[in-house]
């Protein structure tokens, strides 16, 4: 808003620099900057982390979190919140370690059914005008219960092909990094750059306008929830491929991590303002925060606390940028 308009009024010596310092760009760069700072801190504390092996080790468990964060982002885009994603990812992991291995066809059917359940949730929330928080909190019980029914004790075996995909050793670039980049770019193009994406985001940003333009808000919400279910499935599968066995509580913390990741990455709760690239970066940042703490030999007790602090610091910086923008106007 500011950069382009300001340029002709004030012939600045370096318009590029001015544009870079504009609040809008600052806000977009904030997630990347926080991750860079974290990475630099990690490399300073533990230089050996700066290697293929080190990065692979640190980012291995970041990929499922990134998928879950993207799933959460789809729900947040339509101004809802999914408090069941952790339970859902756990359930998918349990399915992956049981049905998908023993009777692959049944496993695929169950996973497709999961996505259908998500779509139905979207329809329910929309048609009955229900608070998504309560519905998804209820669903978190359902997923947890189903997981316990499947795997009362930790166990199961991930299908060999899944393990092979997830543990695939790429030359030069760790698989987790490549997949994260692909994930961020694909979702970015689909949601931020395509015509369909504009409508989908609009259903969260200005539902009235979208409805007036002739789109069915019901269909849009169902689509967004179905996408959330789809990426939740990917999260669960990549997780179980990494751990090779599952248990009912394996991913319960993903619920809070995914919300934090979306917000860290520049997502906001109103108006369909989200950023897929930011969300992936946010998820990686949260995953890396744990590594930094353990390199600093800080007790794991403080791990969640540190994630909270990172969240607050980034949000504080964003609030500063927003205030600067308000003043400039």
């Amino acid at each position: 808003m500011t950069g382009a308009l300001d340029a002709p009024r004030a012939p600045a010596p370096a318009p590029m620099l001015r544009a870079l310092a504009s609040p809008r760009v600052m806000r977009a760069l904030l997630p990347a900057m926080s991750m860079t700072i974290l990475l630099v801190a990690i490399f300073v504390v533990q230089p050996r982390a700066m290697s293929y092996f080190g990065l692979n080790l640190m980012l291995n468990l970041a990929l499922p979190i990134a998928f879950a964060t993207i799933a959460q982002m789809f729900v947040i885009t339509v101004n809802d919140l999914d408090l069941s994603i952790g339970g859902f990812v756990s359930f998918v992991a349990c399915v992956g370690a049981t049905f998908l291995n023993d009777t692959p066809l049944l496993g695929v059917v169950v996973l497709a059914g999961c996505i259908a359940v998500y779509a139905a949730l979207g329809a329910l929330v929309h048609l009955r005008n229900l608070p998504s928080i309560v519905v998804t909190l209820g669903m978190s019980f359902v997923w947890l219960g189903l997981s316990i029914l499947l795997l009362p004790t930790p166990g199961g075996t991930a299908p060999a092909w899944l393990v092979a995909i997830v543990k695939f050793k790429m030359p030069f670039v760790p698989f987790a990094i490549l997949m994260s980049v692909v994930l961020a770019l694909v979702v970015h193009v689909a949601l931020m750059r395509s015509a369909a994406g504009v409508v989908l985001r609009g259903s969260g940003g200005n539902p009235l306008a979208i409805a007036k333009a002739g789109w069915s808000l019901l269909k849009l919400k169902v689509t967004m929830y179905a996408f959330a279910g789809f990426f939740g499935v990917l999260s669960g599968l990549s997780l179980v491929g990494m751990t090779t066995s599952a248990d009912a509580n394996i991913a319960l913390r993903y619920t809070l991590l995914s919300v934090a990741g979306v917000i860290l990455g520049g997502g906001e709760f109103v108006g369909g303002r989200v950023s897929p690239i930011g969300a992936v970066i946010g998820a990686l940042t949260l995953a890396l925060a744990g590594s930094l703490l353990s390199f600093l030999q800080i007790s794991p007790d403080w791990q969640i606390g540190a994630q909270g602090v990172i969240l607050v610091v980034v949000l504080a910086l964003r609030a500063l940028v927003n205030r600067a923008e308000a003043r400039a106007r």
Binding site: L130, V134, L137, V142, W302, G305, L315, A316
Partner: protein
């Protein structure tokens, strides 16, 4: 709307039928009857006694969450579980097993809650972020403090405090009776005090409330502090009841606190709440679990059914669009 119904001299029965909270009691009674029908009347009063005891904890946090939800769309307190864990541990540490320290311990727990509430509101206000994220970030931090200081804490509650939280007089739990009194007080606060009316007004239309001269900021601040203070109190009581504080004792209270508000007939969009429904909903939630246990279903099916029932109830009860924002 609320003032009208309060003033209109209507007969009791139609008024009860028209109120939304009565259905939570109807549901609780139905579940109770189904349970004792299964046991052929055995343990009917015992079930009620334990339901009253356990529901009391749901009610304490539910009332706080209700005030927050009443303050309008988007307002919610997600820091309750972490708050309960920290306050409970703190109360046990301050009491250190001595009866004379009970008041100080309870005060410390409530004080801890107040601090968490201040932290919540400070984040909401200073960072201008939605309450969901603010209370979530605060709860991350509070949880860490609770883990760091509460780990391996094996302090038993003072005998007097245990006796108070677990004691009964003629089958009626003392604690539940006290929480009924608390609920009555809170109902008066909600419907009859300037603060309570301000919360409802802001929930219905913050702009109109502000133009009418209400301080939106101060009311919201008080609301978050109240919710957190009640969560702190719940932490102390829970630690006393379960023979010591544990780190995960607050876990189930996030869903419970929200569910009792919604099932109790308060509007999720804010602005229209009631206190009695919270008791009805808390009894309902507890009795459902008891019923499923009595029927002998496993943990997995019990969880699934609990979730399905919650979703079914709010689909039926919470679906009516309020139409006023």
């Amino acid at each position: 709307m609320t003032a009208e119904t309060a003033r209109a001299p209507r007969r009791l029965l139609p008024r009860l039928a028209a109120s939304r909270w009565i259905w939570s009691f109807v549901g609780a009674a139905a579940v109770w009857i189904a349970t004792i029908a299964f046991t052929h009347g055995q343990g009917a009063t015992e079930i009620l006694t334990s339901a009253l005891t356990f529901s009391a904890f749901f009610v304490v946090v539910g009332i706080g969450q209700m005030f927050v939800i009443t303050a309008g769309p988007g307002n919610i307190d997600l820091s309750i579980p972490a708050n309960i864990a920290l306050s409970g541990a703190l109360a046990m540490m301050v009491m250190a097993g001595a009866d004379t320290m009970i008041p100080l311990g309870v005060a410390a727990a409530i004080g801890c809650g107040v601090l968490v509430g201040c932290l919540n509101y400070a984040l909401i206000r200073v960072l201008a972020i939605p309450p969901i994220i603010a209370t979530l970030s605060a709860s991350f931090f509070v949880q860490s403090v609770a883990i760091a200081y509460g780990r391996g804490l094996k302090i038993k509650p003072p005998p007097g405090f245990s006796a108070f939280t677990t004691g009964q007089v003629m089958g009626v739990p003392i604690l539940a009776a006290c929480i009924v009194v608390l609920a009555v007080v809170m109902a008066v606060v909600l419907h009859r005090t300037l603060y309570g009316r301000a919360v409802s007004a802001i929930g219905q239309n913050p702009r109109a409330a502000e133009l009418a001269g209400l301080s939106v900021g101060r009311t919201r601040f008080l609301t978050y502090v109240l919710s957190a203070a009640l969560a702190g109190l719940c932490g102390a009581l829970l630690a006393g009841f379960s023979g010591g504080a544990s780190l995960n004792m607050g876990e189930e209270y996030l869903l419970a606190s929200i569910a009792v508000v919604v099932i109790g007939g308060s509007s999720v969009a804010g602005g229209a709440s009631n206190v009695p429904g919270i008791w009805g909903a808390a009894l309902f939630l507890y009795l459902v679990v008891t019923m499923l246990n009595t029927f002998g279903v496993g943990a997995g099916i019990r969880l699934v059914l609990t979730g399905v029932i919650i979703i079914a109830v709010i689909t039926l009860a919470g679906g009516r669009p309020t139409g006023r924002r």
